[in-house]
Structures are given as structure tokens and as C-alpha cells.
Symmetry: C2
Subunit: 187 residues, 2 copies
Amino acid sequence: MQEKLRSHIEKIVRLNDEEFELVLFHFSIAEFRKNQFIFKEGEKVKQAYYVVSGLLKLLYTDSSANQHIISFAMEDWWESDFYAYFTQTKATMSLQCLEKTTVYCLSLESYQHLCTHIPRMERFFLQKSNLGFIGSQQRILSLLTTSAKERYEQLLERYPSLLQRVSKTQLAAYLGVSRETLSRLYS
Amino acid sequence: MQEKLRSHIEKIVRLNDEEFELVLFHFSIAEFRKNQFIFKEGEKVKQAYYVVSGLLKLLYTDSSANQHIISFAMEDWWESDFYAYFTQTKATMSLQCLEKTTVYCLSLESYQHLCTHIPRMERFFLQKSNLGFIGSQQRILSLLTTSAKERYEQLLERYPSLLQRVSKTQLAAYLGVSRETLSRLYS
DNA sequence: TCAGAATAGTGATCCATGTCACAGGTGCAT
DNA sequence: ATGCACCTGTGACATGGATCACTATTCTGA
């Protein structure tokens, strides 16, 4: 399990054993059942999560009680309500398991400690953040420029396994269309 | 002008004179006329830009020749096609001036050099990247959950000056609605 | 193993927004 | 000053997608 984390980090920066020891010291492991909430809207967000196995959704519930999925987090992904995390305020979104999920947890203090004491970890987080930013911007572009049908096809192309792992209802909430409309896109 | 850059950076991290000297050495200044393209889709993106004065739009032109505005960049903002920048590939988006604009330019090598030699600059970029990521995610949320009208009102509330500075056509391209629809939102 | 809850498909209807067309206003350039 | 390009508003119409309602199927937990 720690090998997984290590190789994940070492895809971007090298760490010696001593450094990785310190990294590991700052993470904790947690396991959640299917459907369990890791945190809910309104709660303080104390951790960022690295998904070892399982599947998460980051969701927002609007005033009409409709769920919107900002993102799915599969193996090797990082997830949290990062605004709430970095500002240590209450979550506006919730993080919930779509499957039984194991995560590594990193508190903000630990994050800052690692950044300060292991420059390569700061480099790692910078790289991750840049990639996350780029990914979000592409999602914005896809929401602005493509139809629901195209977005559905793009999603299947990029993450074909998702179709097996999540319900159509969830996919629709991610794509920004109603369940019924999604159902008609391929019939 | 350099004072502007310095105080922008020092909102996040302290720099001594020597460090700022090095920072400044890696930036170059450029000026562009209204409507001029800083780069166009298909070109290599060699720089990231810090806006000293003026106003930029980052835009994507789809296959039907419709323009979509991913973001505006006002004073104190950073902008580029960051995917193309970090991977040193060709731009999928274009960056164009809505007003006469002065920018500081930072090449990828300079960016990396600064990150490596001035840890506080790496901290600065990490902070900026995190904020950028959070901002994009909120834009995604707003595209998923709110109507064009609400988005228009949110935009005016956050950046009231934009209404004076850009045409309705531009605003519509940013909000993801047609010019006509936007026109009807407040009549 | 069985009942209730999710999940999925589909018909009917309605509405928001896109598209096309036109006209008046403003500002810039020759 | 004149003319042209751009910006804006608005009417008419088309349409994609939301909403509501119902049914069939699959999952799941006591």
C-alpha cells in the first residue's frame, strides 16, 4: 500500500528512503464503506485524500436538492473540498464513496510541513496542482462548447471503466443533464 | 511597474532585495495593442503572462467558429494556455487583448529556474496554482448548478467593472449563452 | 427468500435558449 | 462630414432538454 503511494509520488519526483519515511509519517490511512460520507457540506474539512482503492464522488447539493457531481476520484487521484481545506473553513461540497474505499489522509499542517521540509514534495504538489488546474479548465471548456451527448462520449472514451462502476444517474449528475436525457442519448 | 509585481508576489511570500532582483531578471515586459493576439491557437506557447495593466481574454474557437471565453484576465492576473505552456506544445486556445495591455512574461525555463533557486517563489506559484484550481472548480460548479441569469448576476457582483470594459457579446461568450439570450436577461 | 429500494427506459408536455432576421445607435476611419 | 463596421435590442420560430408520470428490472438487506 505504501508502495503505491511512493510510486505515485515518484512518477513526478524522486525521494530517498529517509524522505519517504517522513512523508509516510504525515499520512494516515482510513477506510470507508460504500455510500459512506467522508465529509458532508457544512463540516470542517481537515484532510485531503489520496485514493488507494475504490471510488469517490465530490458532490454539491443545490437548493432544490439536486445533486451535482463536480468530479469522480478513482485510484491514484487526490480529492477534497480544496477551498474549505486550504482556508480551513466549512465544506460547501460533500465527499462520498461510490464503492468501499481506502484513502491516505493528509492534514493541512502535514501538507505545509512536507512542503517546507522536503522541497521535492513541494515540487510534487505544485505539479499536481497545475495538472488539476489544467484539468478543470478543460472541463469548463467542455461544458461551454460541447453538447451533453459529446460530453458523454468523451467521458466514455477517457474513462471507459466508469460506465461499469457508476449508475447512469451518477453519470448524468456529472455531465450536467437529467437522468432521462442521458438515457435517451444512446437509444 | 516592478513595484507592482513585487507587491503582488509579497502578498503571498516575502522576498529580500536580492531575491527580487533575480525574479525580475527572469521576467520580460511586453506591450500589446487592443485586439492584438498574444498567441493564437496552433502556436507554441512560450510564456505565461502577468497582467500589469489592461485586459485579456482567453478564448477557444469551436468547429462552428463560435468563440467561447474561458476567462478574462484583468490587472494582477496570470494567464496563458497553461496546458500548452507546461507541456511546451501548441495552443488550443488563443489569448487576445480587449484593451491596450502591458504584461510581464515568464518562460517555462525561467519559471523552473525560479522554483528551484528561490523556494519561496515555488511556494508562491503553488499558492497561485491552488487558487486557480479552486477558482476553476467553482466555475464548473456554477456552470452545472446555476442558470445563465444567475451567472450573469454573480459576475456583475464579483467584477462590476467588467460591464463597463467589455461588450455584451464578450460577456455572453464567457457566460455560455448567446448574445440574444443575454440581452433578454435584463429586459 | 422476499419486500422495498434503487435503477433504468420511455411517453407526454412545457419551457428556456438557440438561431435567424432586421433595425437603430454609436464610434472610428478616411 | 460621411460611410461603414460593430454593438445592441427584439421579434418569430425551432428545438434540446427538463419535468412529471408510469412501468419493468435489478439489487440488497433483514
